[in-house]
Amino acid sequence: MIDVLFSSLGQLFTVPHMLYMVIGVLIGLIVGIIPGLGGIAGMSLLLPFLYGMEPSVALGMLMGLVAVIPTGDTFASVLLGIPGSSASQATVVDGFALAKKGQAARALSSAFLSSMIGGLIGALVLTAFILIARPVVLSFSSSELFMLTLLGLSMVAVLSGKDVFKGIAACGAGLLVGTIGMAPATGEFRLPFEIDYLYDGLPLVVVGLGIFALPEIIDLLVKRGAIAEQPCQLGKGWKEGVKDVAKRPGLVARCAGIGSLMGTIPGLAGSVVDWLTYGHAVQSAKDKSQFGKGDIRGVIAPESANNACACGAMVPTLLFGIPGSGTAAVFLGGLLLLGLQPGVSMLETNLDLTYTIIWSLALANILGAALCLGLARPVASLTRVPFVILAPLITILILFAAYQATRSLGDLFALGIIGAIGVLFKQANWSRPAFLIGFVLAPGAEAYFYQAAQFQGAEAFMRPGVLVIGALIAASLLLPPLRRSLRNHLQKRRQSEESAAHPLQEEVAPLSLGVIDVALLGSLLAGAAYMWWAFADLSMLGGIMPRLAIAIIVAACVLEIVRTVIKPMKWQTQTLSQQLPWVAGFFALIGGVMMLGFLFAAAIFCLGFLLVVARMKPVAAVGLAAGVTLFLMGMANLLTLTYPTGMLASL
């Protein structure tokens, strides 16, 4: 075994292997940096060349690509607040907040370093684990998978802090939106408004972009200025970021460990792992006050996990022929094209190739992170550019990214609608991650619950694995409040011993309520009522999940209302008047795309925005608009894309 390990390592350092791997890494980085494109787009660029290639060389190229995508997409998450791919959604929360504080370089260098270390740990774990992984993977039955989705959902409580009911309501809304599409148990369709686009449910990319990116763009436009609100020191930040990681080896190692383990479990994909580790970082931190406002730990945790997760995802792919993630699914196709059948026999007949894959992963992680670290400083200076200039480019970029989801106009409308919800959430300070977590986990929670009940009946919930995860959930929900009340208790005693005269200070800030809160509570209740009516003729099995989500929304909203009625609260002014025109403008842009076609509308929009809103010099504006158009045309050629041509063209 050891000799196979080293002969694969020797193979790795041959010229053809290195060369193709570098190609893979470069394509992976480019594809990773462009939002909306991910492993799937990268793979489809490489697949045409695969047939007939030497397997070990081809695998090096594919792994180069797979390994660096979770590295490259950090740029968009941190600098622009656009979740580059589903694996880096949690990075947005604190990464972008840091960029706004002028610490983009710090966030980026931390992220890349933790990506690199996470990836290496992942590869290391994989080396040993792949030989014994079979029984471990098989021990996760549908009931354990269901419990893991619950563990993911319990992070909502961790992330929403004192506004726990708003967090739960947001999560319930996410769950409800996540149930749109086909019911896994009965094959019935749950389509509000009978819209065909919703047959497959809303795509995760669109929801992620809508809930995070669009509100940030609008917010920055309202505020004017650059992304970095405070002066940024790129050089110093870069070194600081490296130090940040070096100071927290435990966090990096734990998150990488969680990442590689979650990756090995087929069906849970990378989309929960970033939230789980983010939640872990919050829970394990003493001072939680800066999370969401720019805590570097909120960047380190998900970034160490997502590269490790990409390594872990190779376990089910190679051992069972079942992809652990979307990218792994395409990688599986690549293996088949090379004439390799993944499965039980892969380890026996192709152990050398298996190790080539693992070592390529490790090496590509180092290469990718090193390249990104080098790029971090110059690219971070983007945050100093006045945002009005970036805004049209980013807007087109997220439209392009959303359109990649299903390549239909529906993607753009969904983006606009989710974006509008995101703007409301952001203005009223409702937890957007909670919404996203609910959305991501709804299908898994439903399908695994149904399967567990069908396969195992009541026994499903007595299994040891289920009990262990259940205990974990209970601990994560109950320990923090217990610890807090204990601390309060001790403090009170100490205070009463020291000076009985001091009145106890209320440490919790008074609750606040604003007009958007009221509007959100009202429309959530109304929406829930509509969905209840729209899903009325679903069968028991097909309708249980959406009804549960509706119940969660209603309960949380009612509790929030009760709380604001009985507890003292402060009326807070929340305004939307500045945001509304921009939201309307965004929908006007989508209308323009419908009328004129994507390319034409994009060109006119960029030019117009740069001239009128940003007041750029005509030459520069034309240059930028032409650049955007050329980029879109190049992408269309590369990815065999057909953009919407517009109604005017068909007349």
Binding site: G10, T14, V15, P16, L19, Y20, I23, I27, I40, M43, L45, L47, P48, F49, L50, Y51, E54, L138, S139, F140, S141, S142, M182, P184, A185, T186, G187, Y199, D200, P266, G267, F320, G321, I322, A329, V330, F331, L332, G333, G334, L337, G339, Q341, G343, V344, S345, T406, R407, S408, Y450, Q451, Q454, F455, Q456, S539, L541, N637, L638, T640, T642
Partner: protein, 368 residues
């Protein structure tokens, strides 16, 4: 390192080529055809995602087709996933040009909704004409806990409820569900698996009692289980021979077909609406599982040229070697033979459909 045929310099050039091509997109080769006007580029819609079974199948065929069609057109694969292949097929039906420059590659999950008259389907196989079809086979197997031999297992499943993890009740597993029903098995189908592989995983975890895999997955993932005594093969679905009879699968010559098992148990061939439904869905989902089609108002000469191109490589040793790994020991079918079989397979009469709708609702609580 001794195995590497390429010198570093050659490799470098090849690598550069990969980069060049992947940045410039497809480079079309222009060539003059003798008699038919072959387009430079053929856009091949695959209504499935990149890397899926049908995508890999199509990518395998692109090289062979491109090399053997006059003028060597470039084949560009356009993946349009969604709705389990319905979205992409709808779009193709709506948009495709009929100049022969657009193909579509479909699979069982495109055929089945059309046969079941799914309300989302806006395409019709009557509008399309096939160039080539590739068959596949499959095997049903069970947990050894149900019995040591196929007979014992088949006996056991009539007496106790067995669980079967399926993607959906109307997916590729539909004929298998009907077959098991015909054999008198009491099957509880647990749906919601995202792939056949996930179903196998549920079997390996011991959650499912009975499972089914197509030929290639069976060889790579189930045979090792059978060898180590963790699965018992029950029967294969068989293959259709030229005269339309179901015979033993060349991939599994020692395994009886479903029809054989049924005849041993009941002393006669299966009949009635269930048998009819089984036959149709078996034909459209397995005998003609994956199809290359184009709009049937494309120029006749061009359709002919494509079919002849396929004929030109099907019998070569090089293709047979390559196909063994990708398609299994099955020979693709070309041209008019496919057309006849396809029409026959896709036409489900109202009585059979009605039976199916009721059966799905009663047995499995699934609504179409």
């Amino acid at each position: 390192m001794a195995t590497l045929k390429n010198t570093p310099l050659k490799t470098f050039k090849k690598a550069l080529l990969v980069v060049a091509c992947s940045t410039l997109g497809a480079i079309s080769v222009n060539a003059q055809a003798d008699d038919v006007n072959v387009p430079d580029t053929i856009r091949w819609t695959i209504p499935f995602g990149v890397g899926g079974g049908t995508d890999v199948w199509a990518r395998f065929f692109t090289t062979w087709m491109s090399d053997h069609i006059q003028g060597n057109p470039t084949l560009v694969i356009d993946n349009v996933p969604g709705g389990g292949s319905i979205n992409g097929s709808n779009l193709f039906a709506m948009r495709a040009d009929s100049d022969g420059s657009q193909w579509i590659g479909t699979s069982a999950s495109t055929q089945y909704p059309a046969m079941l008259q799914d309300r989302r389907v806006r395409y019709s196989y009557d509008d399309w004409t096939p160039i080539l079809a590739t068959p596949t086979g499959g095997v049903v197997y069970a947990q050894p806990g149900l019995g040591d031999s196929a007979e014992e297992v088949l006996n056991a499943v009539t007496n106790q409820r067995v669980k079967f993890a399926v993607q959906s009740h109307t997916g590729l597993e539909l004929p298998v569900l009907i077959a098991l029903d015909l054999l008198g098995a009491d099957v509880q189908a647990v749906s919601g698996m995202r792939s056949r592989g996930e179903g196998r995983l549920a079997f390996e975890r011991g959650e499912a009692d009975i499972d089914f895999q197509t030929t290639s997955a069976y060889f790579s993932s189930v045979e090792p289980l059978v060898e180590s005594g963790r699965a018992v093969p029950l029967f294969s679905l068989g293959v259709l021979n030229d005269s339309g009879e179901i015979v033993r699968d060349p991939a599994f010559p020692d395994l009886p077909t479903f029809n054989e098992v049924y005849e041993t148990l009941h002393g006669e061939a299966p009949s009635g609406p269930a048998a009819e439904a089984y036959r149709k869905f078996f034909a459209s989902g397995f005998t003609l599982q994956k199809l290359i089609l184009l709009p049937n108002d494309a120029p006749q000469a061009l359709i002919q040229e494509y079919r002849e191109a396929a004929q030109r490589f099907l019998d070569t040793e090089a293709f047979k070697d390559a196909a063994m790994a990708q398609l299994g020991p099955y020979t693709p079918v070309v041209g008019e033979v496919v057309e006849q079989h396809l029409q026959e397979a896709m036409s489900l009469d109202d009585a059979t459909r009605q039976w199916l709708v009721e059966w799905l609702l009663e047995q499995h609580g699934a609504r179409i």
